[in-house]
Subunit: 333 residues, 2 copies
Amino acid sequence: MVTMADVARLAGVSAATVSHVINGTRAVRPATAQRVLAAVERTGYTPNTLARGLARARTQSIGLALSGVRNPFFMELVGTIEAQVGRAGLVLLLGDTGEDPQQELRLVQAFVQRRVDGLLLAPTAGAGDRVLRYLAAQSLPVVLLDRFASTALDVVGTENEEATAGLVEHLAALGHRRIGLVAGFPGLSTTVERIRGYRVGMLRSGLGEDAKLVAHSGWRAATRGATRALLDLPEPPTALISGANHITIDVLHVLAERGLRIPDDVALVAFDDFDWADLLVPRLTAVAQQTALIGARAVELLLARIEDPTLPPRQERIPTTFVHRDSCGCRAR
Amino acid sequence: MVTMADVARLAGVSAATVSHVINGTRAVRPATAQRVLAAVERTGYTPNTLARGLARARTQSIGLALSGVRNPFFMELVGTIEAQVGRAGLVLLLGDTGEDPQQELRLVQAFVQRRVDGLLLAPTAGAGDRVLRYLAAQSLPVVLLDRFASTALDVVGTENEEATAGLVEHLAALGHRRIGLVAGFPGLSTTVERIRGYRVGMLRSGLGEDAKLVAHSGWRAATRGATRALLDLPEPPTALISGANHITIDVLHVLAERGLRIPDDVALVAFDDFDWADLLVPRLTAVAQQTALIGARAVELLLARIEDPTLPPRQERIPTTFVHRDSCGCRAR
DNA sequence: CTGTTAGCGCTTTCAG
DNA sequence: CTGAAAGCGCTAACAG
């Protein structure tokens, strides 16, 4: 591996000069610069970012920790974030928390050890304590993704409550009285907020609260079990709301396995939209998160905070859009 | 930020000793070790991986470069690879090539500068030259993903040709004579192999070659256009094969927009399966790639090569599985 | 079993 | 406009 010293020798200058022409960090006589550049070219020199990072205490990299296997929504987010980060000339370190606080902590520590300049994190449900405290101690620029787990940090996420309430009201307006919710991973702020939104919607629609109508899911098997339990109620719901991306797929599977027709036997609306949602029969009515916006905004906030760590914490709610299709039973449009 | 020297001072030992107890790299008197560990604990010391990497010429990180936005299949791959890499105690740097050779080169260079220990790359179509040559010059452990773009490097990918031929034969056995193919991104080895497989299948089935029956797609708009063109042929195909993941979604959209019924108006089979493929009506018949296996194997090969860079190049073809459902027109099972 | 001493490759004062 | 030199924080001989 060719080093800066090699280039310096070949160009007949000092390492300092090489460094400066490479970084454009001080004026260099054009002729000298030319020789350096030529030497770089000839040797195929590539700066060693480790050494640079060590000297500068800046690595031009940021960490992203979330739970992707669990959630297609996050995989989309990874895409938009990677693009954004790349455009800023930074490199992305990616890790999967698996929704496990232990793993999450390990991951975040690994990132810290790598001296990332900033961190994007979708905190796990149990995270409240450990990771957030650890992060605070590191005074590392952080923005939380999707989940409002702290008011002391920047957070970018979706407006969950009103969106879910809207879903309920839509169903209620169609005459549904028993509306079930298959809620997301327990303990996440998104889950909590969507459940709250569901309640608000029920109340506003003059429908009582019936705790039995909200099913608490977990990992895949649990989600299907919870859905079946809902359908097995003495008085089963006539309409279902799926609380998230991956849940929708499970709900659809269960409905199919029971031979229930949508929307006639049971209407369905979902939180989170898909590429292929209008390929289903009936086409899926859903609330869509603005993934690209969320990702872009999160990166912006992080870069700003890296620039100026003293900024007051900002919490941003990105609005959803309602995609009115047919599974709600409207024969829409 | 607390440094190793701080810990050493607090524990009343030399930095060398601290280093050795942390890395378990030489025997240390238990009592001493205890003091060091205690000091680490008290100070909340976190090793600086940059410095370590600089000294060891090893970063415990690997780079992954592919085109995710373009391809859900790759996003799945990212998931399995991340898990595998994490399990090995390494960190993953992720970058998106956008199927653009320029961007790909920049990305790979960024990874090299970061001194990743190894690289996983799904080379772009135009990559043959630049990147691969650059990589060769770096003598960096590399394994290519999905695309057989070099015989000098390790490659892990799917068995494309026979799988596609099988799809054709399946359709032909059902009586189809005009079978169309919506091929993938031009120039990729996967695309080339699947087209070849298509031809083989046609020949074996006693169907001639008709170049007009294979549509060459590109980015999204192009894919839909190509599909429409196929359907607008004077003698349109009675069956369609989708050449990849994302193409299937576009094909389905076009079919829907034309009001064509599957499989009656046109049968459809696809390369690549989905989570939700059996939620469609009719359920989609497809050839599934073993994503998890591909990812796992790629990481294994890379780790092995990092251990021993002199290994001869290995090229592995992971077999596909045929998921027989209804869109082919069999009313299967 | 432990400490000293060189680096690893780059950046950045401080002089000139 | 340019060079010398002192680190950045850690590892790894080399001595004891």
